[in-house]
């Protein structure tokens, strides 16, 4: 991945980032410095954004823009760019851009990081910051005709709103008017079996080929950030992460919130609970990848065929185990700050035996899948070399998870920014170099094997754990009130990639700002790069291989 690794190492030291050196690099642009719990933040003027980010990317190697957070304070609007590196996740820096409250305008970062395009549209939509030089600044989650910006402080939620149901027009129609070629506009969704939920894909076809594609999202925007901002840290937020990525990836998502809230409040988690968490999370990853596999094949073969049923059969097995563990089939609500809610089910031997059975059967099951899917010639023709996503492009779009790893980007937060019990266990990060639809499927299938490895090691550990040391939760105060203006961004490896949360506390028992970085949001953005020039069925295959869950895209 050392494509053009010139001097992109300013500020790199043995143990982290030398922020003073970065400050020297940015020079006059920096007007102030802030300390967030995860990294230092450099405050820059709203007209210096592009230059600052470009320097940080080119000279200091911060090639991954994880997220853009916008929020409003009584005296200013603020955008925060959370930067890190694909090569070394532990190196982080934030760029903070305050703007004037009357006329919140700041420079767009879209020319430096492609992914900023969608993030800034979202910030404009929900908070109301205006990004100058943005190529296409309009609402992304809410309907075009919406009045006001719901996450800004002066929004009145009771005001009536109007939503239109009009025809969509071909965005390329005009430009192709005088050329020879004719383009046709094709709506896919929001109610369509190939869109994996309520997604609307506006596709413009030139003959058989896709000339332009724009995912239109927001059909499942359930105000997750508002919900989290209305809940207290201790208990009221935890149920929501289950509902972001609902492909039964619940525990992985709960971990994202647990991790950020535990860092914010300095809460330790007992070792035993860490192992239980790790085991549960990996079971969820298997369930999520099975769904991805089943629905992807549904897209390719076009009906509720055998493969889909096979995948559902295996999901049922995992869901049964998870139900024993948590009491629910999907919305587990099992993690608590400082641990988990209850210990493993009794009798423990039976529970372990159930998991062991499942793990023991898995190699054979996967062999079946390989027979059915990856060995199938039609399947190969449909997926190999279609939906190609080059590694550099994937990085520009901020792709993570199996999508990035299918393009050979070796990035996995479980290893690169260890949490839980992962660094004590023996497993590998899976990557594939195919960069195509096939590679992404293969990564998921091989990851299932790795998860199984992790689970069986956890089971071994848990089995031998002395009875009087089964500590499932540490002491956590009844009400959590982190110091005002503490800011933190933390991420975990969800089923789809880097799932991060930014919290600013305002001194009360509820977060002042709660921003979710969902991997699906970024991954879906890259669809335009993958699908252009392909045929429509390949567009559908590409969309399927991204494995987007609309609940997480729209939040």
């Amino acid at each position: 991945m050392s494509l053009e690794k010139h001097s992109a190492d300013v500020g790199v030291t043995e143990d982290g980032v030398d922020y003073d050196e970065l400050e020297a690099l940015l020079g006059e642009r920096v007007i102030d410095r802030e300390t967030h719990l995860n990294a230092e933040g450099f405050v820059v003027r709203p007209d210096e954004v592009e230059g600052t980010l470009e320097l940080l990317r080119e000279e200091a190697g911060f090639d991954h823009l994880s997220m853009v957070t916008a929020q409003d304070y009584p005296d200013r609007y603020e955008s925060i760019y959370h930067l890190t590196k694909y090569d070394d996740r532990t190196q982080e820096v934030s760029v903070v851009v305050p703007t004037d409250p009357e006329n919140p305008t700041s420079e767009s970062a879209a020319s430096v990081y492609k992914t900023a395009e969608w993030h800034e549209r979202e910030a404009y939509d929900l908070v109301g910051v205006d990004y100058e030089n943005h190529p296409d600044l309009r609402r992304i989650l809410l309907p075009e005709t919406w009045q006001g910006h719901p996450l800004s402080s002066d929004y009145d939620q009771d005001k009536p709103q109007l939503v239109t149901l009009d025809e969509h027009v071909n965005p390329l129609a005009e430009s192709s008017k005088d050329s020879e070629s004719d383009t046709m506009f094709l709506n896919i969704g929001p109610h369509h079996p190939a869109t994996h939920g309520v997604l609307h894909v506006k596709a413009v076809l030139d003959g058989e080929q896709v000339a332009d594609v724009e995912p239109d999202i927001g059909y499942l925007h359930r105000c997750e950030e508002q919900m989290a901002q209305q809940g207290t840290y201790r208990h009221q937020i935890m149920p929501y992460p289950d509902r972001w990525d609902y492909s039964s990836a619940g525990l992985l998502n709960e971990w994202a919130y647990a991790r950020v809230a535990e860092d914010l409040n300095d809460i330790e988690v007992p070792e035993y609970a860490q192992i239980v968490r790790t085991m549960g999370a990996e079971l969820c990853r298997i369930a999520a990848h099975m769904l991805a596999l089943g629905t992807f094949c549904l897209d390719i073969y076009g009906d509720f065929t055998a493969i889909f049923m096979y995948a559902m059969r295996d999901r049922e097995k995992v869901q049964n185990i998870l139900e024993d563990l948590t009491g629910q089939r999907m919305m587990f609500n099992y993690f608590r700050l400082g641990g988990v809610v209850w210990d493993l089910p009794e009798p423990r031997e039976e529970f372990f035996a159930k998991i062991r059975d499942f793990i023991d059967d898995l190699p054979e099951t996967l062999e079946e899948y390989h027979d059915l899917i990856t060995g199938n010639e039609i399947f190969q023709t449909r997926t190999i070399n279609t939906g190609v996503l080059e590694p550099e492009v994937a990085k520009q779009y901020g792709c993570t998870g199996p999508v990035a790893r299918g393009s050979g980007v070796d990035y996995d937060l479980r290893r690169d920014d260890p949490y839980g019990y992962y660094d004590e266990l023996d497993w590998d990060v899976v990557t594939e170099d195919g960069c195509d639809n096939f590679a992404r499927l293969l990564v998921r299938m091989r990851e299932v094997e790795e998860s199984a490895k992790i689970i069986s090691q956890c089971v071994d550990l848990l089995e031998d754990w002395p009875e009087d040391e089964r500590n499932i939760q540490s002491n956590v105060p009844r009400t959590l009130k982190p110091d005002p203006d503490t800011e933190v961004y933390r991420a975990v490896e969800g089923a789809k990639g880097e799932l991060g949360i930014y919290i600013r506390s305002d001194g009360t028992d509820k977060p002042g700002r709660f921003k979710i970085r969902s991997p699906c949001f970024n991954n879906l953005h890259s669809l335009e790069a993958m699908a252009e020039g392909e045929y429509v069925p390949d567009l559908v295959a590409a969309l399927g291989s991204l494995d987007v869950i609309l609940g997480e895209v729209d939040r």
Binding site: T145, L162, V163, T164, V198, C223
Partner: protein, 234 residues
């Protein structure tokens, strides 16, 4: 042999104009016979009310719309798939087009941008049609009820026959809901189709209030719109 004249292996060139009776003999094709039929005698018929018969037919072959919105749709897929297998109850083949379906399961949260589209899909289904609400979100907005963008239940937009509570309801619960619906249809019971608060209307027909005035320049008179009065929502 291939060098022999073709005529030798040719059969009759008579057109196939035989009637069914000539082909299968008098009475019912043997394959359609059954013990019960034999017990009734040579050409049995039964008497029932037409409506009763039609209701029985309707209840026994329901075509579901393949419709996924949010988390609940994952459990809905499990309901269709192995283990739960909704098909056993005569209602398990999901149809991708609303024009081939008569039951809509609403599995998830409905938000402002989606409601007009959902209404359109519902309108495209042929009559008689039925709706099953799956999960708290479709019933009331569920965990997201206080969101700025969330419709407080599918009943604000389309008429609903059965509510299956849960977040998400287990597949068994959904099966129960669907079977209850079949039972009710077979018995000729139906829920009243009431006028709902959020209708699709032409923009020009709306009352000229502040919001409408403001949008008048951007929206064409005959564009369809849905107007949400959040303050009046439960």
């Amino acid at each position: 042999m291939s060098n022999e004249p073709r005529e030798n292996i040719h059969g009759s060139t008579d057109p196939q104009t035989k009637t069914r009776e000539a082909r299968t003999g008098p009475g019912l094709d043997n394959r359609f016979n059954s013990k019960l039929r034999e017990a009734f005698g040579s050409s049995p018929f039964i008497l029932t009310k037409f409506d009763k018969f039609m209701n029985w037919v309707r209840g026994s072959s329901m075509f579901m719309l393949q419709f996924g919105i949010a988390c609940c749709s994952i459990e809905m897929m499990h309901t269709y798939a192995v283990k739960h297998d909704l098909d056993r109850f005569g209602s398990g083949v999901p149809r991708a087009s609303p024009r081939q379906a008569d039951v809509m399961i609403v599995p998830g949260t409905i938000v402002s941008k989606f409601a007009p589209r959902m209404k359109r899909v519902y309108d495209q289904m042929p009559e008689p049609k039925f709706v099953v609400n799956m999960g708290s979100c479709a019933i009331s907005g569920g965990p997201f009820q206080e969101g700025y963008n969330v419709i407080k239940g599918a009943e604000e937009v389309i008429p609903v026959d059965i509510h299956v509570p849960g977040c998400p309801p287990r597949p068994e619960a959904l099966v129960y809901g669907v079977v209850k619906l079949q039972e009710r249809i077979a018995n000729g019971e139906s829920s009243p189709v009431t006028v709902k608060p959020y209708e699709l209307e032409q923009f020009g027909d709306l009352e000229r209030d502040e919001l409408v005035e403001k949008l008048a320049d951007d929206i064409d008179e005959d564009t369809l719109v849905m107007r949400y009065n959040w303050a009046d929502s439960p």
